[in-house]
């Protein structure tokens, strides 16, 4: 897969009520590397992810360049088709829409047609890797799923859709050690497929299973620090106040 680049310049974002959440952020991502976005609660990490996917709740200033194309005015479904993916922190349930149905529809929108048998075999193979019981695939997506099941189903979608860049918003939150290992294994596999990985996280725990190249630290809506994996260790020891 060709290397993809996402470059953000002087990006600010406001809510509909006019509250500024992100302020003048400039940074870049490449699909050949693994990134971590860290920062205290309320620093704007999730908002950044949503803004990159084009959530209409926010009005933005600045530019977002994806593979040399300006996408700040591109609607969400088009961004997904260009190869951006978001694994949600608390994904919403959609009663009556099964995991299989959603994923197959999404696949058809973002890829060429694939025969149902072939699609199902790929889906089941990835589900097995993530220790997802196949019965879950026929249930309404995220409807009554446990915290761990939700995270795994989000990752499963990334594995099937193989986007160019995937953002994981706190995929490690609420996972026990075993589940965390399985999720890390899945993310490493995704990386091997050529997908660029961006992990929003509070903890170094996940990063000990997934080698990270670049760490960005946000605070109060601003980019305050950029570093390598050692930066995550420093944060773990000293906290954000120690930076």
């Amino acid at each position: 897969m060709k290397t993809s680049h996402l470059t953000i310049s002087h990006l600010s974002a406001k809510t509909k009520e006019g509250k500024e959440i992100l302020h003048d952020i400039s940074l870049s991502f490449s699909s050949s590397k693994v990134y971590a976005i860290m920062g205290p609660n309320g620093s704007g990490k999730s908002t950044l992810a949503h803004v990159l996917l084009g959530n209409p709740e926010y009005t933005i200033q600045g530019s977002i360049l994806f593979n040399l194309t300006n996408i700040e005015k591109v609607v969400t479904e088009e961004r997904a088709r260009l190869g951006l993916f978001l694994s949600y922190q608390s994904p919403v349930a959609i009663p009556g829409v099964s995991v299989v149905h959603l994923l197959r529809t999404a696949y058809q929108k973002t890829h060429q047609l694939m025969k149902i048998e072939q699609f199902m075999s790929i889906l089941k193979q990835h589900a097995k890797t993530l220790h997802i019981e196949s019965i879950l695939l026929n249930r309404s997506i995220h409807d009554g799923f446990s915290g761990g099941e939700k995270k795994k189903i989000e990752l499963l979608q990334a594995l099937v859709l193989k986007p160019k860049l995937a953002i994981f918003d706190e995929i490690d939150t609420g996972l026990d050690v075993d589940a965390l290992k399985v999720v890390a294994q899945g993310i490493n596999m995704l990386k091997e497929f050529g997908t660029g990985v961006i992990m929003i996280t509070h903890y170094k725990r996940l990063l000990s299973y997934i080698p990270v190249d670049v760490v960005y630290v946000l605070s109060k809506g601003k980019l305050v620090k950029t570093g390598n994996h050692q930066l995550a260790s420093i944060i773990e020891r000293k906290g954000y106040a120690g930076l």
């Binding site: 609607v75 969400t76 997904a80 978001l86 949600y88 919403v92 959609i94 959603l102």
Partner: protein
């Protein structure tokens, strides 16, 4: 954000050239009722039944509740049309214009795949019918009602009008006096009909009232699934459809009756459906109302024998200019009877849906149980949904559950689906189809596919 009120193009809004041998005068008089009976060559008892029903109809008042029916003028309609061919046993013998109509709906392909018997109604008369030999061998009778009156007069006379008496309501009385077509089914003791029996109804002339009459008798321990689908062409003047469906479920028998109603949006659809369920019998109504200008329909179960069960699953969709006043009735008259009513409604672009239901448990219906769930999905602020549940529980040991929810499509759900590459319009129809899925999954395969497609078509009209 702006919402426009453009109706979505009506997929089946075509019509073929009319070919009738007989057309009654517009309006309704005693002479017309007698003439209908004469044209059909009916026995005296049926002629008397029609005339008596007409008297009841004339005296009966319009319902004093529910949606406004003041624009409905009975004298604006034709009450009987007889197509050129009265009966055809095979597809090749049908006139071309009628064949074209059915080709557009797709009956022949469906027949090959799913149907064990086709009875397609072209206006008042059933003109095309093929009943598979196996059914006949098992002793199952599946005929249009007109033929049944001729061929099985005693069986028909014994049950006709017993579940829904003539005086039940004004529209039942109207149907009783001018009925034409519909199906008659008798399933003998212990016989299980594996494939659904189907009929397609279609109104094809302006101001044509359609008054089919269906009677199903499932003898002890038998099973049958009957399904009907409706598609109608668009006309500028209003059409009237008023059917009566009576079902008798004998001891230990089970009947499922599935309807997908998709009349064009100028049709008044005022239907009375009721089942009488004896000991340990089961009645299941699956009722989907997508079309019509105004529908009033409340499929009912009268649970008269111990451990009789009744279920009413329904979907109602109201778009621009539509009112769906639908619901269910469960009357528990015997001990240990159970009923379940699940209603899903969707309204958008100014449409109105109402759930109107009644559960009655009489004194002595010990340990009777009833559960009612009605969920409404309101797509935009121009649309409205109401719930009118009535509960009359006179038995101490009975139990009753009622749940009602009103929901909207959330921005969060739309974002989730669009972030997976699905556009906003498709995302909406996916959410709507998901909402009705618990009922849709109970439909035969071809119906569920068509229903999802129809919902998709209806949802296309406007997201502004």
């Amino acid at each position: 954000m702006k919402t426009t009120f453009l109706p979505s193009p009506y997929a089946f809004g075509f019509h073929t050239k009319d070919a009738y041998t007989y057309k009654s005068k517009k309006g309704l008089h005693k002479e017309i009722v007698a003439d209908i009976s004469f044209q059909k060559g009916e026995p005296d008892w049926m002629r008397e039944f029609r005339l008596k029903s007409f008297d009841v109809f004339s005296k009966k008042r319009m319902p004093g509740w529910g949606p406004n029916l003041s624009e409905l003028t009975f004298n604006d309609f034709y009450y009987y049309l007889k197509p050129i061919v009265s009966q055809a046993q095979s597809w090749s013998k049908l006139p071309k214009s009628i064949k074209e109509t059915y080709d557009k709906i797709g009956i022949p392909e469906m027949e090959k795949k799913y149907l064990s018997g086709v009875s397609a109604q072209y206006e008042s008369e059933v003109v095309y019918k093929s009943v598979q030999k196996t059914l006949t061998k098992k002793g199952v009778i599946f005929l249009d009602m007109d033929s049944a009156v001729r061929e099985y007069p005693e069986l028909v006379r014994r049950y006709f009008g017993t579940v829904i008496p003539v005086g039940d309501n004004k529209f039942a009385a109207l149907n009783s006096s001018v009925w034409s077509g519909g199906s008659f089914i008798y399933v003998p003791k212990g016989v299980k009909v594996e494939l659904p029996l189907q009929a397609y109804f279609r109104i094809n002339a302006a101001n044509m009232g359609q008054f089919e009459r269906t009677l199903i008798i499932a003898d002890e321990g038998s099973f049958v699934h009957y399904s009907e689908g409706c598609t109608a062409p668009i006309y500028s003047t209003d059409s009237l459809h008023s059917a009566v469906v009576e079902i008798i479920v004998k001891k230990g028998a089970r009947v499922r009756y599935t309807t997908v109603q998709n009349w064009s949006t100028n049709v008044y659809n005022l239907v009375t459906k009721r089942a009488l369920v004896e000991e340990e019998g089961t009645m299941e109504w699956v009722d989907c109302n997508l079309g019509s200008k105004l529908t009033m329909k409340y499929p009912s179960v009268y649970l008269v024998g111990r451990k009789a069960r009744g279920q009413v699953l329904s979907i109602a969709y109201a778009g621009v200019g539509q009112i769906q006043d639908a619901g269910a009735k469960a009357i528990h008259i015997a001990p240990e009877t159970t009923s379940e009513i699940i209603s899903k409604s969707i309204c958008r672009s100014g449409g109105r849906t109402s759930y109107r239901g009644m559960v009655k448990i009489v004194h002595g219906a010990k340990e009777a149980k009833s559960r009612v769930v009605c969920d409404a999905l309101i797509i935009d602020k121009y649309s409205r949904s109401d719930t009118y549940p009535t509960m009359d529980i006179q038995e101490q040991t009975a139990s009753m559950e009622h749940e009602a929810t009103v929901s909207k499509i959330s921005d969060e759900q739309l974002l989730y689906l669009t972030s997976r590459g699905i556009n906003a319009r498709e995302a909406q129809s996916m959410i709507v189809n998901g909402f009705i899925e618990p009922v849709v999954k109970e439909l035969p395969l071809e119906y569920s596919v068509e229903l999802n497609r129809l919902i998709g078509l209806r949802m296309e009209g406007s997201v502004g």
